[in-house]
């Protein structure tokens, strides 16, 4: 198919038009409007970098950014440890392997909004009742303090996404050649040594893939945040995505919200670009 052939363009046109109208135009408009006093309908004047400088003094935004970074850091570590652990369990030759895999993956099928509501019930009522019964103060009043809100979000996210990370690790674990495992057994390697020296180096790429994946997913979380804590108490568990939605659609500061969105885009792009860079480097080394 040549460039000039009409067939080539007819095949590309529908998706190209959709991408341009849905992503391309809004993205360019977005950059442009952050330098104006745009209110969603039109704008009267250019304001230069005013929105961006205002950002630096916006405590609510900065604390949502800091919360998001802390949340992502903890979630990424836990998700990878637990995801790998689950993958190691279900790749043993168990009678229940398929069943277990189905169960661990199940929360991924359901939207974050609904899962957040389910866990709201669990943290408030189930934890509360168990805490009362067993006289454990730490189980009571969950989601009513910043700390329990933070850990509530972490638990929900890990429970939901660990099965997904498990699937990625399984794909790599299944590519570890059986002969290598057998050879190491003959050489007298125990299970720990075998994992450390044979399996782990071979699944290292999976670690990169899922680390970046979990990082970008947890950075962008919105639904779970909305339904579990709604940013509360007192906006202490509000993440960046929610802060942007709030600024644009609740306080109707469209241009300012868009400036936050641009900063958010830069953060997410840094994560994505470092992944591409890291992968390239690794490919060269291999």
């Amino acid at each position: 198919m040549r460039n000039r052939s009409p067939a080539f363009w007819l095949f590309i046109a529908p998706v190209l038009v959709a991408l341009m109208l849905v992503v391309g135009v809004p993205l360019l408009m977005g950059f442009f409007y952050t330098f104006t006093d745009w209110n969603g309908l039109g704008f009267n004047q250019f304001v230069g970098f005013e929105h961006y400088s205002r950002l630096l003094g916006d405590d609510r935004f900065l604390s949502s950014l800091w919360f998001t970074i802390q949340f992502s850091f903890v979630s990424v570590i836990l998700l990878n440890i637990i995801g790998l652990g689950l993958a190691l369990i279900v790749t043993q030759k168990l009678k229940t392997s398929n069943f277990l895999r189905t169960i661990f993956f199940m929360p991924n099928l359901i939207g974050g909004l609904i899962l957040g509501f389910i866990w709201q019930f669990i943290f408030i009522n189930v934890f509360g009742q168990i805490g009362q019964f067993m006289n454990v103060d730490g189980l009571q009043g969950w989601l009513s303090t910043p700390t329990t809100g933070f850990w509530g979000l972490v638990i929900l996210t890990v429970w939901q996404l660990a099965g997904y990370i498990m699937i990625i690790y399984i794909a790599y674990l299944q590519n570890v050649p059986g002969e290598l495992i057998e050879a190491s057994q003959i050489d007298g390697a125990g299970p720990v040594q075998r994992f450390k020296n044979v399996t782990f180096p071979l699944i290292a790429p999976a670690f990169t893939v899922s680390m970046f994946l979990t990082l970008s997913v947890s950075f962008k979380i919105y639904d779970q945040n909305l339904s579990l804590t709604d940013g509360g108490p007192f906006n202490s568990t509000e993440m960046v995505a929610m802060n942007i939605v709030y600024t644009a659609f609740d306080s109707n500061e469209m241009a300012y919200g868009q400036a936050k969105a641009v900063v958010f885009l830069i953060f997410v792009s840094i994560i994505a670009i470092s992944q591409v860079y890291y992968n390239k480097k690794r490919e060269v080394e291999m």
Binding site: F8, M29, I89, I110, L115, F121, K220, Q258, L265, V268
Partner: protein, 272 residues
């Protein structure tokens, strides 16, 4: 590996123990959805003293369940059909055209995957409202725009395994470009189409933020109605839980019928 059986026994017990923990939120949701609010506060862990179905009747009604189910189905299925047809066409054209331009276009599509939704949502909704497209048709078009990138990437990758001699043979037999694609190539891409369909069902069916910005209340999907329903019954857990149970039934049914394809589809989508 026979000598490992004794150890596997313990791994199996650990696995089942973890599976029970993983399932416990669903157990708690379902058992409490059959209790009265009072029973929930008496004993949250046990089975209901007597099953209450009234919660479900009211939740079904207040969620406008059938209407929301229809809206969710219509939007999800239409979006996926469009994504599959148009992305496979583009993936095919980009793979068969080896020019620099084609490479650049592929790069544009792939880079678009990295743009987070929040970066464009504000201007996107304002842009679409300027020509009255904040409705379910506008939404379906948006899903095509957001969803085509990953699909094109997957189709393009799969095309490398489909020999160009097939195209040539079809052309000699007098088939047009489109006929070649539709009758010869598209059927061969079926495994990718299944993967694309599955990844998009999980995303579009559950999506909340975009539809909440775009749809009117008559067009609302299950997650949107769930959000309002939950807000209305914050202290009435019995009703809220019945609503939540109802809301997840369709996707759980889908999971049990297609779990093998779902797991392999998700693997393909994540690892590639």
């Amino acid at each position: 590996m026979k000598q490992q059986n004794g150890k596997n026994y313990w791994v199996e017990i650990l696995g089942i123990f973890l599976a029970l923990i993983w399932l416990s939120p669903f157990y708690l949701m379902v058992v409490n959805s059959f209790k009265t609010n009072r029973d929930i506060f008496e004993d949250v862990l046990g089975l209901p003293p007597e099953a209450v179905f009234a919660n479900y009747v009211q939740a079904f009604h207040d969620l406008d369940f059938l209407n929301a189910l229809w809206n969710s189905t219509f939007i999800t299925v239409s979006s996926i059909v469009l994504i599959i047809i148009f992305s496979s066409m583009a993936g095919y054209a980009l793979a068969r055209n080896k020019s620099k331009l084609s490479g650049a276009l592929l790069l544009i599509f792939v880079s678009a995957m990295l743009i987070p939704f929040q970066a464009v949502m504000i201007t996107l909704t304002s842009f679409f409202s300027s020509f009255q497209m904040l409705n379910q048709y506008g939404l379906i078009f948006m899903y095509l725009g957001f969803g085509c990138s990953l699909a094109i990437f997957l189709y393009h990758g799969a095309m490398t395994g489909i020999s160009i001699t097939l195209d040539e043979a079809a052309t000699i037999d007098g088939a047009s470009r489109f006929q070649t694609f539709w009758y010869i190539i598209f059927p061969l891409l079926k495994p990718i189409s299944v993967t694309v369909a599955i990844l998009n069902v999980i995303w579009i069916w559950n999506d909340y933020l975009l539809p909440s910005l775009v749809l009117s209340s008559e067009e609302a999907t299950i997650p949107i109605n769930m959000y309002y329903f939950f807000g209305e019954y914050t202290r009435q857990w019995d009703l809220a839980l019945a609503g939540l149970t109802l809301a997840i039934i369709p996707i759980i049914i889908f999971y049990f019928f297609a779990q093998k394809q779902i797991i392999s589809g998700v693997t393909d989508g994540a690892v590639k």
